[in-house]
Symmetry: C3
Subunit: 271 residues, 3 copies
């Protein structure tokens, strides 16, 4: 294999079969920029093929896991030019869609260590992992409706499946923030552990996956996953088709501008 | 739109986009008579089309949410005439089936405020709502088997989905009564709140639905709901076909007569 | 009907419509030998057809419910003869597959009384029952990966369905042991009851099933079960195809020999 890819917004290391991929823009609360999605995709493609990687451990450096998609006007895109804007939106959504596809079809276990709060896509992508460990004071929310956007990351399947429609609607449609303990209760988090034990706990599970008989593990994992994989891939496609529509809507444009102006007058620590 | 339809066994009001539809025969524990199903259907059809309604809030006036289907011999039907009896049963079940269909396909969020105990169809229809709030001393049961009837209201899907088969069998087949807190634990109730805060809590969620960007909300809700809607519609059809059989069975006739005679010697407060 | 079949590793009795089938090799922790599967199949076939049986109560005599599949080299099979070994494995897996099929399609309610710890197939088959009651100090584990085997008994469907993928992976892939209370929390156990009340509690549920209007009960049960039955039957087939592969793998052979040698130096009470 070629050496580990050099990434600028992620930190990627690998030891004893476990690749640790960490969101690494802590000053920006690990918010997801276009570059984040691009590099995430590079990392997933590399690690899927890497024969020295048997497990992916996903986490964040700093106080946040990730605050989700960074909201900013598309750089270098003229808003007055609807064709250019649409081209930009379609391209960006295609990358997001591919990241979700690659997580759904990732051929090795994915373990998440939620080291702090997560929002939006950082929450929905977490629900696709094989195991999730969290610190007690992490919280999880998906403010899609405040931004006039839509469900994504297959959240329209994964959360109703775990919490039922009524509770999932609170998360996805009413913007309610859930605690780590609530997520644990619904089976979205395997275990809530003190911050100073998080990395060790997640690494222990990852190492166990890495040390298990790999044929037995991967074939069983395949039997477990394949039931819902086609449904997830289809739902991802439909969510992303809707996301393009939403990102081109006047509702979203107004909500984003409102959010950005509010954010500029609010310290990130209030998130 | 025409004015709100006048209903005799429901109370229907509307304010700020939220239509409040309340079972309104508290002296009869809000039991569901043929007229209840007829008016429920009128209300659902009206509100689905009503441009001033963005959310439906469903609740009960009085101490009960609803004691479920009223058990009474069909009025004006000669039991000795099997053709007349079957015609009556088929017509009534068709109305019930249509109410369930209309709830499943209702194009706007439905919020339930369970102000007291619910039984039978009042419980199963609740499990199809978008959000459910309950008072602490409400309880929920579906005494289908005691009456030699069958699962209905898509309960053969909704409850196994939430509680698993083992617990759902206790509710649906063994007639076990569940508390509001137990329903909350399974995600069938979003939140248990003191009686004096119920209406405000449910109204707050309803108002939030009403105030959200409607395109974003309804398109996301559609992505969430559509996965199971075809299965629900098919299951409703099959449950209702079975219900016709059951209502024409000797087992049911005997069980109903036994229930009515017991009920006449038991105050409703023992329910 | 012919008299109850005589079984050597199960105890089978019948009273008031409830057939009690108990694992009955307590000195071997009710481990499942080839004979266990053969007799289990005989019992299921008999009881499915038996007009005096309306409910099956499954339990274990002694301290264990069942320690799962006994690990022993196939008796009288020459390991150096790959054709003979494969023939033996295919035949044994076919019997296991048929036991699972018969449980999935069993036409009457199955109630489990988990009188003690259960492992492997004893756990996965339990998750297919209509109701499960357990003593507080039972625990449940499926050490498939330690043995380089694979998910079976439709566990790749039933556990993700109840616990979600993340927790199910701990059980199925990481070999984590779950307590009775944890299983209760996920709806895999209906109720945890003190050991001296277990049989009475399970028998009460079984008797209630037996005493319910049978047409109403069985038709409703059918509507509840039939949604997932085809998926379960297909998954059982695929799991068992994989199990044949796994049982013929060098990984399994080494793991089994290692397990057997460890077990011979470890008292069963350490399980």
């Amino acid at each position: 294999m070629p050496p580990l890819p050099r990434l600028s917004v992620f930190e990627l290391t690998r030891r004893h079969g476990v690749a640790r991929l960490a969101f690494n823009t802590p000053k920006q609360c690990n918010a997801l920029t276009p570059k984040s999605y691009d590099e995430w995709l590079v990392a997933l493609d590399y690690l899927a093929a890497d024969t020295e990687t048997r497990v992916l451990l996903l986490t964040g450096n700093g106080r946040f896991y990730s605050s989700g998609q960074a909201l900013a006007p598309p750089p270098g895109v003229d808003f007055g030019d609807p064709i250019a804007l649409k081209k930009w939106v379609v391209e960006r959504v295609e990358v997001t869609k591919t990241v979700v596809d690659r997580i759904i079809t990732f051929p090795k276990p994915i373990v998440v260590a939620a080291n702090g709060p997560a929002m939006g896509f950082a929450v929905t992508s977490m629900a696709l992992a094989d195991a999730v460990y969290s610190v007690p004071d992490a919280h999880f929310s998906t403010p899609f409706m405040q931004l006039a956007l839509c469900v994504e990351g297959c959240s329209s399947i994964t959360f109703p499946e775990r919490m039922g429609y009524a509770k999932a609607n609170e998360l996805l449609l009413l913007g309610k923030r859930f605690t780590a303990h609530e997520f644990e209760r619904y089976g979205l988090v395997n275990e809530v552990v003190p911050a100073d034990q998080l990395e060790a706990t997640a690494m222990k599970a990852a190492t166990q996956f890495a040390d298990t008989h790999q044929d037995a593990l991967l074939q069983s994992r395949e039997l477990i996953m394949r039931q819902r994989r086609p449904r997830l891939l289809q739902q991802n496609r439909d969510e992303m088709d809707l996301l393009i529509q939403r990102m081109l809507s006047a509702e979203f444009f107004a909500a984003m501008m409102n959010f950005i102006s509010r954010k500029q007058s609010t310290p990130a620590s209030k998130l």
